[in-house]
């Protein structure tokens, strides 16, 4: 059982506050969605949870240990993070990219063990990209790339998965496929926190929706309450009569 606990976390960039007094406790088995307008603090919250940004106030704990106190590799084994820009500087093969998820597990100057290879294979399977294993990353479509990068974060076999807009710029089918992958990881007992803009998608898949506005957590609860008509009107400035309805699109 893993807990990611934020206690009154704040983060300022100079004078601008990106995150103010955020408190929440996330537990394994949950698929948590972070929603909010651009600049609301979703990415900042994820980076703070990943230990990539140090909070100016408050503290983030992974099972009672402050994240800042963990060794880099130890933290990386427990928390995987997928940044929003899904690019690779080099034309690497898909299997090479997925194997990068094992970096926190590797001893210096050692090669991949059988255990690492098994983890990579499983990650490729779960993300549904086994057939792309020998392809070059730069020859893939954006939907395929998104899934390969998710496979990369799965291969770490971390307790916590943090993903910053993995569904951005994807067609409806790939959006559904990505959310299905994340849902099944949460069902396996991982804690999955995903930032997203597609509210209908979030309403269908997420167990819990955290709504951010101007760096403040406005709502934190099941989709039905977090994405109610009133909240959506105030936070996003759009109307959805009766609240956001879960998407009715289905994978064939």
């Amino acid at each position: 059982m893993t807990q990611l606990n934020l206690q009154r976390v704040g983060l300022r960039y100079g004078d601008a506050a990106a995150l103010i007094d955020a408190s929440a406790c996330f537990e394994s088995g949950q698929l948590v969605a972070l929603v909010g307008p651009n600049g609301a603090g979703k990415s900042t919250l994820l980076r703070v949870c990943a230990g990539l940004a140090d909070p100016s106030d408050g503290i983030v704990c992974l099972d009672d240990a402050p994240i800042g106190s963990l060794k880099f590799a130890a933290r990386a084994r427990r928390i995987s993070y997928l940044p929003p820009d899904g690019r690779s500087a080099w034309a690497l093969k898909v299997h090479t990219i997925v194997a990068l998820g094992r970096v926190p597990h590797l001893k210096p100057l050692r090669r991949l063990s059988a255990r690492d290879e098994a983890a990579n294979k499983e990650a490729l399977d779960r993300a549904g990209v086994s057939h792309l294993s020998d392809r070059r990353f730069d020859t893939l479509s954006s939907g395929e790339r998104a899934r390969v990068l998710i496979a990369r974060s799965l291969s770490t076999q971390s307790d916590v998965l943090l993903l910053d807009e993995p569904t951005a710029a994807l067609d409806p089918k790939h959006q559904l496929a990505v959310m299905e992958i994340l849902k099944s990881e949460a069902d396996r007992g991982r804690l999955v926190i995903v930032a997203a803009h597609a509210l209908e998608l979030v309403a269908r898949y997420a167990d819990r929706v955290v709504v951010l506005q101007n760096g403040v957590i406005r709502e934190d609860g099941p989709p039905a309450t977090s994405l109610s008509e009133a909240v959506v009107r105030v936070v996003f400035g759009v109307t959805a009569s009766g609240g956001v309805a879960p998407t009715r699109l289905e994978l064939l």
Binding site: R47, L52, F72, R87, W90, A91, L100, P104, P108
Partner: protein, 329 residues
């Protein structure tokens, strides 16, 4: 070992070039002379082999390996195929160090003045680079800071040449800057080898971090890579591997740019797998190019190694700029 065929091929090619370079030249040498050189024969042939050819070829291997490995690591670290030791200002600051020693005539008083001063120059350049760029600098900031450091070093070098006390000092500086292995002796080998070997060893430690960096700095950090440590390894390794080389051979450009780029497709574009082949390829290129300069050079009209690599490398650089533009999505 991954890509062992490529590495074995390059190593074989290097051994072949070394053999060619040892026996080719104005003084014709035979295998007997080589054996004589090893057994301490003091007649002319073995002497030329032992005191001229052997240190020169060995120095070429060292300098080339340092340049090739540095180029591969810098390109991986900056995630840019146009990066090379010149870009981070290491070559220029090492050059400035050497020119200071030549300008003040320190080399006449103290045999190792030029190389020692060059390594100091490289170290100061690297220190300045890290101060300018700050502790948490991104790759782009580092490149810009490196260009600035290089520009300052080049300007100061120009100033010293401008104020040179006499034409001889000026020509000495100018020839030195062109880069060559003409002055190679066992002293140079003894001085440069520990630096270059240590530098290349540091560069090899960056391998895994470079792979992780392929997906960007945030991903690398999230995978537990300590970017600060990686940066120190990259900068320190480059300063020693390139500074040590520039110290004894002058500025030899484009090797660190060309070699990793040519070899990258053979290692499936993986930055970590590129370091060893680039070191071997760099050594091969320098030994070959130096042999070519010796064979082309007429009496009294030496062709400088740095001039040759620049003549071959600059058009390649232009082609590379065009090609990366076309391939970009």
């Amino acid at each position: 070992m991954t890509h062992w065929k490529l590495n074995a091929g390059l190593a074989l090619g290097l051994v072949g070039f070394i053999a060619l370079a040892l026996f080719a030249g104005d003084t014709r040498l035979e295998v007997d002379h080589f054996l004589g050189a090893l057994s301490g024969d003091e007649s002319l042939g073995p002497l030329v082999m032992r005191e001229l050819r052997m240190p020169r070829v060995l120095l070429g291997v060292l300098v080339g390996a340092g340049l090739g490995a540095s180029g591969a690591v810098l390109q991986g670290f900056f995630r840019n195929p146009l990066a090379d030791p010149g870009v981070v200002g290491v070559s220029a600051s090492a050059g400035l160090g050497a020119v200071v020693a030549l300008y003040f005539g320190l080399s006449e008083r103290f045999a190792f003045a030029v190389p020692v001063s060059a390594v100091f120059g490289a170290a100061i350049g690297v220190g300045l680079l890290l101060t300018l760029a700050g502790a948490r600098a991104s790759a782009t900031t580092l490149i810009l800071a490196g260009v600035a450091v290089g520009a300052v070093a080049t300007a100061l070098t120009g100033l010293l040449m401008n104020m040179a006390p006499n034409p001889w000092a000026l020509s000495e500086i100018a020839y030195w800057l062109m880069g060559s292995l003409n002055d190679a002796s066992w002293n140079e080998v003894r001085f440069a080898s520990p630096l270059i070997v240590a530098g290349v060893a540091l560069l090899f430690l960056t391998a895994r971090g470079l792979d992780a960096l392929s997906l960007g700095e945030e991903t690398a950090r999230s995978l537990g890579v300590e970017i600060g440590v990686l940066r120190i390894l990259v900068i320190g390794g480059t300063a020693m591997a390139v500074g040590g080389g520039v110290a004894v051979s002058g500025a030899i450009g484009f090797v660190g740019l060309v070699v990793p780029h040519l070899l990258r497709p053979f290692v499936e574009h993986q930055p970590a797998a590129l370091i060893l082949p680039s070191a071997l390829g760099g050594a091969l290129l320098i030994v070959g190019a130096d042999m070519a300069t010796r064979l082309i050079s007429g009496p009294g009209m030496p062709l400088y190694l740095g001039v040759l690599t620049a003549l071959l490398g600059a058009p390649f650089f232009l082609w590379l700029v065009r090609a990366t533009q076309r391939r970009a999505p």
